[in-house]
Each structure stands twice: as structure tokens, then as C-alpha cells.
Amino acid sequence: MNARRTARGLSLHAVVWLIGAFVVVPLVYAVISGFKSTGELTTNPFGLPEHWKTGNYTGILGDGMFWRQIANSAGIAIGTTCCTVAASAMAAFALARYAFRGRELFYTLFTIGLMFPFAVAVLPLFLLLRNVDLLDNPLGVILPQAAFGLPMTIIILRGFFRTIPAEIEEAAVMDGCGKFRFFWKILLPMARPALGTVSVLAIVASWNNFFLPLLVFNDPKWQTIPVGVQQFQGQYSTDYALVLAYIVLAMVPALAFYAVAERQLIGGLTAGATKG
């Protein structure tokens, strides 16, 4: 009996390790290859580097362009998140706690936004942004991203706002608290966990977006990390080790953010998926 259980445990672990290898090997390959020269990468693809060459990594880190892209991505992510969370919180408040005619119509309007693939809108969006002179302007990425983030954010926030008991609002109103003060001073502080979740989702979506920044930014000084990664690969396409070092460094902020915000991220994604 005991032996059987041990055997079963061992084979379970073996399978998990196999799946783990599928996930990890590409990542480890990239990290280690970043320490090699491209010549060594061809002759010694799997082993540890003979000389740990740090030049690939330090070279990129010493280049202002990389940091510029990180800063652009961060700024755009923060801008997008502020816009989408602020607009969604207000709308979700109205849709959750006001009784007015047409409320469900508005809510439905936002929820069907979930079915609109970004790819559908991107071409006319580009034409629109060109007409209003928002190309090579961070707002040209922030505003559309915020708009496409609305449906999910509104659905999650409205769900949360509904769980806050009406008695709290009644008590606040009795104490002479207006709708807006209630929203700002009582509801939002109470909704902090939900706001955290939707913010984390918005940040990740913005950080990883590629299609829109690719079209909007011609000027390299605005390029975000995903666009920068693609450009870098094009530029140094024969220096494989250097390209791998670049993507390893580009992964670090996302993975660090994941390590910090893991709970909100997974909770939000699963809740968002099941509610959408």
C-alpha cells in the first residue's frame, strides 16, 4: 500500500516536472543564452556558457533607449489605468445604485463591447487618430486602450458596488451626504480591493499591447517595450544572443509585477472571464 502510494506520488511528480520543463526550458534557454556570444550559441546551444559574458545585458541596460521604452510603457499603463478605472467607477456607480429608465440598456451597451475584437477597430481608429492629430502622442494610445478596457472594468466594479448594502447609503444620506460625496468618501474607499483588481488587469493589458502603439508611434522616442522588442529584433537580427538578452530584460518588469500582484491578477482574470 505504502509503496504503491509512493510510486503514484513519484509518477505524479514526473508528469508535473515534464510539463514544468515545457514551460521553463524556453525561459532558461533565453536567460543563459544572454550570457553567451552569438558564436558560442551555435556551437554550444544547451550548456552553460564557457565565459559568462555580461556584455549583452550591461550593454542594453547602459543604453538609454531601453529605459526610455520602459518609461513609456509605464507612463502609458498608468495613464490608461487612471482613465479607465475613473470612468468605469463612475459609470458602474450609476449603473449599480441608481434606478433610472434605460439603465439596463446602457449596461448592455457596455457589455457587448466585450465582443468587439480590438483588431476590428484598429484601422478606423488609426484614421480617426490621424484626423485629430493624436499620432505620435501618448494620448492616442491611452484613450483607445482606456475605452476598450471599460466593459470588463464596469462589469467587475458594478458587481462589487451592488454588494455594498443599501443601508450604508441610506445612513449616509440621512447624515446629509450627497450622492457625489457618498461615491467619493464612502463607496470608493470600501471598494479598494475591487479597484485594485481592475487596476492590475488594466496595467497588464496596457503593458502588453502591441498593435496600437505600433501604429500610433512612428517616432522612436515614444515606443513602448513590445514595439521596442520587435524593432530591436529587426535591427540586430543576426546577433541572436543580444536579442535574447533584450527579451529577458523586457520580461523582468512583467514577471516582477506578476510576483507582486499575483492574487489580484489571477482572481481578476478568472472572475472577469466567468462574469463576461
Partner: protein, 329 residues
């Protein structure tokens, strides 16, 4: 709209919102005032949504009826010619085929694999929290980073995959991977699985955790084996989660762009092209904006029709079940 029914149903019971029944004389004034404050709260989101989501889609529909290079006046109205051309276009028909291919493989290979992993990590297993976190990690990376990583891995000659194929005796695959029409789609699918199975695994884990342990216990007391318990208890109760997973896989495959654009740009010779790639090629590289808009519209119609039908016929059954009560954690 079915997508919002989830919240509609629970709503009726708690609809006693804090708007007191007004005295008849003051009701009009009150109504107006409440409308005014509602508007105040709704306007920012509505404006954003109308300008950047709905208007572009309307513009795409309109532009799809013209032959237009993207600059100058749009005055060459061609009716549905763009659409008739589209369904004669071998490249576009290929796009549809590639979409179907990825959808089929996602449902028959990737989702079962994710479910298997979820069941595995739902067991008492040392370090399972670490494994879960690890398997989910690729989902956090952007598609571009993933694409460049695997471009390097599948590089003919120098890439890891070629060395691996050599070591495993799969000489036939060397130098092919992303650069041969016969292997490019399976290779793409492997990359998609690498990136996305962890997300579906997390969904399934959330679903598994909502299955009451007593049910499985009862089944095992009744003499059900491991497989029978899985087949007759776990799987049916996971139905809602599986249907959502399928839904997200299909929508994701329909609009796939970043990953393919960076890895193959649709090549070699259009053999991995997706609808979004064709749209991008025609709209931004070949300046046939009217034609590209028509592709956007078809892409839109496919996702819309699919979503509506799917929600009507597949997700409807779940309305009283786990999906609506919020699922998640």
C-alpha cells in the same frame, strides 16, 4: 442581450434601490434631478466608449463600401464589391482555414491539456502552489516577447529547436519549423499552447475548487473509480468553466495578430496568415483601406455572430449555475 442576463436575474430581487417613492407633485423635478446626476456619472465612460469603440466600428462598416487608399477624398463607392472580392480571395479563404485549424487544435489539444494539468495540480502535491504560479507565468508575458523568444528558438540552424530535433533524431524537422508551409501552423500552435494553457488551467482550477468534496466522496463510496469520478462527477460539474474556456479560445484565435505578425508576418507564402494580418497588410502596407475595412467587418461579424449564438445556445444553460454566481475565487 444574453451576456448581461447573469446580473439581470439577481437584480430584480434587490432592485429596491435607495430612491424613495416621491410625492406625485415633486416627482417630475426629482426625476430630472436624478437624471442629471446619473448623466454626470455616465458621461465620461459613454463618450470614451462611443468615440473609441463604437464609432470606429461604424466607420469600418462605412469605409468597407468604398475603394479608398486611405488619403484623399473617399468617393469611389463600390457597394459590396469588396466583400465579393474577399470571398474569392484565396489568401482570405486561407485565413479562415487557419483560424479554424487553431480553434480545432485549441479545443481538442490545448484545453484537455490544461484540464489535465489542473486536475493534477488539484491533488495534494508538494509545491503545487509554485507549479501553478510557474505554469501561469507565460500568460503574463506580452505576445511580442513570446514571439521573439520562439523565433529565436525555432531559428533555422542556430535555434534550440533544431539542435533538439537533431538530438532526438527528427532530422526531417531541422530548418523547417516556422519557415516551411507544412510545419508553420503546428509550430504556431505549440507556441500558443505554451503561452495560454496556464490561463485555462487557472480557470479550471477555480472550477474544480467549487466542486463540493462530498460529491466525490459519495461517488467513491458508491464504488466509482478515479476515471468514473472524473467522467461522471467532475466533468459535468466543470461544464460551465469548459464552455467559457472554449469561448475564450475561439475569440482569441479569431483575432490573433501580435504573435503571428512578429513570428512569421503570415508567411511563408501566406501559410500562417490570419484575418487580422490580412487586414493589416491591406490597410497599412498596400493602402487598400476599403478592402481592409471589409476584412475588419467580416472579422467583426464572425465574432459577433459566434458570441451571440454561443451565449444563446451554450452558455444559456449555465445561467442558474456557477457562471452567474460569480465563479472566480
Amino acid at each position: 442581450m444574453p451576456s448581461s442576463v447573469s446580473t439581470l436575474t439577481e437584480e430584480r430581487t434587490q432592485d429596491a434601490l435607495p430612491v424613495a417613492p416621491p410625492a406625485p407633485a415633486r416627482s417630475l423635478l426629482r426625476g430630472l434631478r436624478s437624471w442629471a446626476s446619473v448623466a454626470w456619472f455616465l458621461v465620461p465612460a459613454l463618450v470614451l466608449f462611443l468615440v473609441f469603440v463604437l464609432a470606429p466600428i461604424a466607420v469600418a462598416v462605412y469605409t468597407g463600401f468604398f475603394k479608398w487608399s486611405g488619403t484623399g477624398p473617399m468617393d469611389d463607392f463600390v457597394g459590396i464589391e469588396n466583400y465579393t472580392k474577399l470571398f474569392d480571395d484565396q489568401v482570405f479563404l486561407g485565413d479562415l482555414g487557419h483560424g479554424l485549424y487553431l480553434i480545432t487544435l485549441s479545443i481538442t489539444v490545448q484545453l484537455p491539456f490544461a484540464l489535465f494539468t489542473a486536475v493534477l495540480l488539484n491533488q495534494r502535491l508538494r509545491g503545487r502552489a509554485v507549479y501553478r504560479m510557474l505554469f501561469f507565468a507565460p500568460y503574463i508575458l506580452s505576445e511580442v516577447v513570446t514571439a521573439v523568444l520562439f523565433t529565436m528558438i525555432f531559428l533555422p540552424g542556430a535555434g534550440m529547436a533544431d539542435h533538439l530535433a537533431g538530438a532526438l533524431g527528427l532530422e526531417g524537422l531541422r530548418g523547417k519549423w516556422l519557415s516551411d508551409p507544412s510545419t508553420v501552423m503546428p509550430t504556431l500552435f505549440v507556441v500558443m499552447t505554451w503561452k495560454y494553457f496556464g490561463f485555462h488551467m487557472m480557470l479550471f482550477l477555480a472550477g474544480l475548487q467549487s466542486i463540493p468534496g462530498e460529491l466525490l466522496e459519495a461517488a467513491s463510496i458508491d464504488g466509482a473509480g478515479v476515471w468514473q469520478r472524473f467522467r461522471h462527477v467532475t466533468l459535468p460539474l466543470l461544464g460551465p468553466t469548459i464552455r467559457i474556456s472554449v469561448f475564450l479560445s475561439v475569440i482569441g484565435a479569431i483575432q490573433l495578430f501580435d504573435l503571428v505578425w512578429v513570428m512569421t508576418a503570415g508567411g511563408p507564402n501566406h501559410s500562417s496568415e490570419t484575418m487580422a494580418i490580412s487586414m493589416f497588410q491591406f490597410g497599412f502596407k498596400r493602402y487598400q483601406v476599403g478592402y481592409a475595412s471589409a476584412i475588419s467587418v467580416v472579422l467583426f461579424m464572425i465574432s459577433l455572430v459566434f458570441s451571440l449564438f454561443y451565449q444563446r445556445y451554450a452558455l444559456r444553460r449555465d445561467l442558474s449555475g456557477a457562471v452567474t454566481s460569480g465563479g472566480g475565487r
